[in-house]
C-alpha cells in the first residue's frame, strides 16, 4: 500500500461496534477492549429501545441484557436502534443522558455519557468525535449507532494510548505520539508531527506531553483530514488537486467553534 498515509489500510469506516475475537483478521493484535464480550443474544437482531419489554411474548427474557428500565412500552415512536450485539454498558451510558428518549444526544450529553467509562473530554474533543461519527440525518446530534461506533473507537485508541504511555504517567510525549498514530495507521511526516506537538507546547520549557484528551483531539484531526485528503487523491499518488471551494469545505468542519 502507499506509504504516503500509513503502513496499512486504515479502515475508513469506523471499527465494528462490538469486540472482535483475537483471531479476526481485521483486529489489531494485542489491542484490548475495556469490557468483555457481551452476552449472546438468542432473540431477534433488533436491539432497540423497545426490545425485551414484553411486547413480543415469544422472547425469553435474558437478565444480562436488561437495559434497566423496568419494562413496559413508552409510547414513543421506535427510536433508531443500537447495532446487534452492542454491549449493555454502551446502551446504558447512552440512555442515561438521552433523557427525552429522542434517540439522539447533543455535545453536552455525549460529554456526560462518556464520563464513567472514559473521562470528561473537552467540548472541542467531543465535537470532533461527533463530527467523525456523525449521523447523516442530524449532524449536530449523535444517534445510537454512531455512539456505539464512537465508543468502540475510543476503546481502541485508549488501548493504544496506554500501550505507549509506558511509564503510566497518563501522558505521552512526541515520540510516543508518533508511534501511537502509526499504530492507528497514520504515518505522520515529521514536519507535521512537529507542528502538532508545538500546538500543545505550553512553552514552559518542559517536554511537551499529551493527555488522552489531547491525544484524541489531535488524533481525530489527523484521522479526519487524512481521510478527506485520501478521498480527493483518487489515483493514490499522495497528492490532490483542490479548488478553493473544496479546500474550504474540507477544512471548516474541523475548526474549533468558540
Amino acid at each position: 500500500m502507499s506509504s504516503y498515509y500509513g503502513h496499512n489500510t486504515a479502515p475508513s469506516a469506523p471499527p465494528e461496534p462490538h469486540p472482535q475475537p483475537a483471531s479476526h483478521p481485521g483486529s489489531q493484535p494485542g489491542v484490548g477492549y475495556p469490557y468483555q464480550q457481551p452476552p449472546v443474544q438468542s432473540q431477534q437482531p433488533a436491539y432497540g429501545y423497545n426490545n425485551n419489554y414484553g411486547h413480543n411474548q415469544n422472547q425469553t427474557q435474558n437478565p444480562n441484557s436488561s437495559i434497566g428500565f423496568g419494562g413496559g412500552q413508552y409510547g414513543y415512536p421506535p427510536a433508531p436502534s443500537f447495532p446487534p450485539g452492542t454491549h449493555p454498558e454502551v446502551i446504558r451510558s447512552f440512555q442515561m443522558v438521552d433523557l427525552d428518549r429522542s434517540g439522539f444526544i447533543d455535545a453536552k450529553e455525549l460529554q456526560q455519557a462518556l464520563i464513567s467509562a472514559y473521562q470528561k473530554f473537552s467540548i472541542r474533543t467531543i465535537r470532533l468525535l461527533m463530527f467523525q461519527f456523525r449521523n447523516p440525518l442530524d449532524p449536530f446530534r449523535t444517534g445510537p449507532k454512531e455512539f456505539a461506533d464512537l465508543w468502540s473507537c475510543l476503546g481502541q485508541w485508549r488501548a493504544i494510548f496506554e500501550r505507549f504511555d509506558r511509564d503510566r504517567s497518563g501522558k505521552i510525549d512526541a515520540a510516543e505520539l508518533r508511534d501511537a498514530l502509526y499504530s492507528l495507521g497514520y504515518a505522520v511526516p515529521p514536519s507535521v508531527l512537529q507542528l502538532l506537538i508545538s500546538k500543545y507546547d505550553d512553552q514552559s520549557g518542559r517536554r511537551v506531553e499529551l493527555s488522552f484528551d489531547s491525544f484524541v483531539e489531535c488524533g481525530m484531526i489527523v484521522k479526519g483530514l487524512t481521510e478527506k485528503f485520501k478521498e480527493k487523491d483518487t489515483r493514490y499518488t499522495g497528492s490532490a488537486t483542490l479548488s478553493y471551494e473544496t479546500f474550504m469545505t474540507m477544512v471548516i468542519p474541523f475548526l474549533a467553534a468558540e
Partner: protein, 238 residues
C-alpha cells in the same frame, strides 16, 4: 532618547500624550488617523507624540512608515511589560478591556498566526498596525451590516460582509461557516460580533494560505499530503 517627556523605564497609561488611549475600535465610530508627516524627525516633539524609532525601556520600537498614532499609542498601552512586543495574554486582555470581546487564548494565537505568519505567539510593532486596522475594519463592517443594531447578523449579511472584505464564499461554505459560528448550534442562523471576528480571521487565514500555494490560473492547488497538513493544521490547532 533624551527629551522624551515620560519615565523611560515604564510606559504607564497616565503618560499617554493624548489622554485616554485610543481603543482598538469604538463601536460605530471610526478612528482618527494622523499620519506622521516627517517620520525622520528625531525624538522629541512638543506633544510627546510617540515617534518611530523611539526607545522605550531600552527597546527600539519601529513601526512601519505611515502608522497612525492611534495604532502606536494602542501598542504601547497594550504592551504592559514594555518589552517592545505584545504576547498572547496581553492581547487577550486588551481585546477584552477595549472591545469587550472575550477571545480564548487559541483564538488570540490564531490571530497572531494569521497576521505574523509565524508560530511565535507574539506581535511586534511591525505587524501590530495591520492588526489594529483590520480589526477596526471588521468591526466597522459588522456594524454596517447589523442594521437593527441587535449585535447579530444573519447569513445573508455575513455573506455580504465577507464580500465587502474581499472574501467571496459560496453558499456551501457560507452554510458551513454559519453552522460553525452560530452559538445556537445552527438553529438561529445568526452570528454574533465576537464570532464574526473569528470567522473573518478563519476565512482570511485559510484563503491566504490557499492563495500562497495557488500556481494555476484555474483557482486550483495541487497539494502533497504533507503540504496540505502543514497548511491546515496551524489554523485548526492554534
Amino acid at each position: 532618547m533624551s527629551g522624551y517627556p515620560h519615565n523611560p523605564s515604564g510606559y504607564g497609561a497616565p503618560a499617554q500624550p493624548y489622554g485616554a488611549p485610543q481603543p482598538l475600535a469604538v463601536y460605530g465610530a471610526p478612528p482618527q488617523t494622523k499620519p506622521q508627516k516627517d517620520y525622520h524627525k528625531p525624538s522629541s516633539s512638543p506633544y510627546g507624540i510617540p515617534q518611530r524609532d523611539e526607545y522605550y525601556g531600552s527597546v527600539p520600537v519601529t513601526f512601519p512608515p505611515g502608522t497612525e498614532t492611534n495604532a502606536m499609542s494602542c501598542f504601547y498601552t497594550i504592551d504592559k511589560d514594555s518589552d517592545g512586543i505584545i504576547d498572547d495574554k496581553e492581547l487577550q486582555k486588551a481585546l477584552l478591556s477595549y472591545n469587550d470581546q472575550s477571545f480564548s487564548i487559541p483564538t488570540v494565537r490564531l490571530l497572531m498566526y494569521v497576521f505574523t505568519k509565524t508560530n511565535t505567539r507574539k506581535i511586534g510593532p511591525k505587524d501590530f498596525p495591520q492588526v489594529f486596522r483590520t480589526l477596526q475594519s471588521w468591526r466597522g463592517t459588522f456594524v454596517k451590516f447589523d442594521i437593527d443594531d441587535s449585535r447579530m447578523i444573519d447569513a445573508n449579511a455575513l455573506r455580504d460582509a465577507l464580500t465587502s472584505l474581499g472574501f467571496v464564499v459560496s453558499p456551501v461554505v457560507l452554510d458551513l461557516l454559519m453552522s460553525k459560528f452560530d452559538k445556537t448550534g445552527g438553529k438561529n442562523k445568526t452570528i454574533e460580533y465576537d464570532n464574526f471576528v473569528v470567522c473573518c480571521l478563519i476565512v482570511k487565514g485559510l484563503t491566504e494560505k490557499f492563495m500562497e500555494n495557488e500556481t494555476s490560473y484555474y483557482g486550483q492547488v495541487t497539494f502533497s499530503y504533507e503540504a496540505f497538513m502543514l497548511t491546515i493544521l496551524p489554523v485548526l490547532i492554534a
